[in-house]
């Protein structure tokens, strides 16, 4: 069954204490090349049947209405993948 991925990130101007904690940990490990870490969310929506433009439009509406709070977050990606958590690593 097709899976639609929605990725949500905190807006640039919003403090991300989770990301700050991680960048602090990296610095303590001597990984000081990394000046910032921001943490977002990835949703995987499994659907029955084909993914068409109408369905993607519906997902966009859901993403902006519920998956993200657009006061503090941006929907940065919506797309289809073949299987869950498809690796995008090179």
């Amino acid at each position: 069954m097709p899976i639609i991925v929605v990725e949500v990130m905190p807006k640039a101007e919003i403090l991300d204490p989770q990301g700050k904690a991680v960048v602090g940990a990296l610095a303590r490990l001597g990984k000081d090349k990394f000046t910032a870490v921001r943490i977002g969310k990835r949703f995987e929506l499994t659907v029955e049947g084909p993914v068409d433009d109408a369905l993607l439009a519906e997902v966009r509406a859901i993403a902006e209405d519920m998956l993200a709070n657009t006061v503090i977050e941006d929907v940065v990606y919506i797309g289809e993948v073949a299987t869950s958590s498809t690796s995008r690593l090179a």
Binding site: P10, E13, I14, L15, P17, Q18, A21, M66, L67, N69, V71, I72
Partner: protein
């Protein structure tokens, strides 16, 4: 008798305390259920604290889409007094009835303390029995209590007097402009992170200079709603 509804969501914790506070000021508390489309004709509505639907998506996010929220949004639009306490505040901002949003506390930790607040707007449906500038102490307990909004929104709500409460002495969660509570433009919808319903009965409230657990500074939220309803 004035009837004030308290909505119970799965994961609500302070619904019974809110009901008790309502009873203490001489009104009738009415238990409302998140899954109903029925406000049972109540005169005012309280969204209580807790961790509705586990706060699994964001604090208050899933609850803001609960069936009864359609009726709450409709009632708020008609001027019915609506108070959101802690998780209830988060629901009201997720539902866009109040400006801004909440994120994890800046220090990443859950915090519980008796918190001093300054009343910044004493003309809302839930604050009219206070005087502007009053300092009150009520308990605060949250993990996702950092009030945030973009610069434009902050400027607008500060200009409109929609900042109802500000933290005094300590900003416990990194909230912008020390904002502890806000109202909508009309002043019938108010939300705040600290818990007035936990400071309504001597013996069970915050410690005060004169006696332990004697604080009842939260009572006037509920008497304010009664006054607002009489004057409508």
């Amino acid at each position: 008798m004035t009837r004030i509804g308290v909505i119970t969501f799965p994961g609500s914790l302070d619904d019974r305390d809110a009901q008790r506070a309502i009873r203490l000021v001489g009104a009738e508390p009415v238990a409302l259920w998140h899954g109903d489309h029925d406000l049972h004709g109540v005169d005012a509505i309280v969204l209580p604290g807790g961790f509705s639907y586990g706060d699994y998506l964001r604090a208050g996010a899933i609850a803001s889409h609960a069936p009864i929220m359609a009726e709450v949004i409709d009632a708020a639009g008609k001027g019915v007094p609506v108070l959101g306490i802690c998780n209830g505040f988060q629901m009201l901002s997720e539902a866009r009835l109040l400006p801004g949003a909440h994120t994890r506390n800046a220090h990443q930790q859950f915090i519980r303390r008796d918190q001093k607040l300054r009343v910044e707007n004493a003309s809302t449906a839930w604050t009219n029995e206070y005087t502007e500038g009053d300092e009150i102490v009520i308990p605060l307990k949250n993990a996702d209590g950092r009030f945030v909004a973009d610069d434009e929104t902050i400027k607008r709500i500060e200009g409109n007097g929609q900042v109802a409460f500000r933290y005094v002495d300590v900003n416990p969660n990194g909230s912008m402009n020390d904002i502890a509570g806000v109202s909508n433009e009309r002043g019938n919808v108010v939300g705040l992170m600290p818990h007035p319903e936990h400071a309504t009965e001597p013996g069970f409230g915050p410690d005060m200079p004169d006696a332990m657990r004697s604080g009842t500074d939260g009572l006037r939220f509920f008497t304010s709603a009664l006054a607002a309803l009489v004057s409508r």
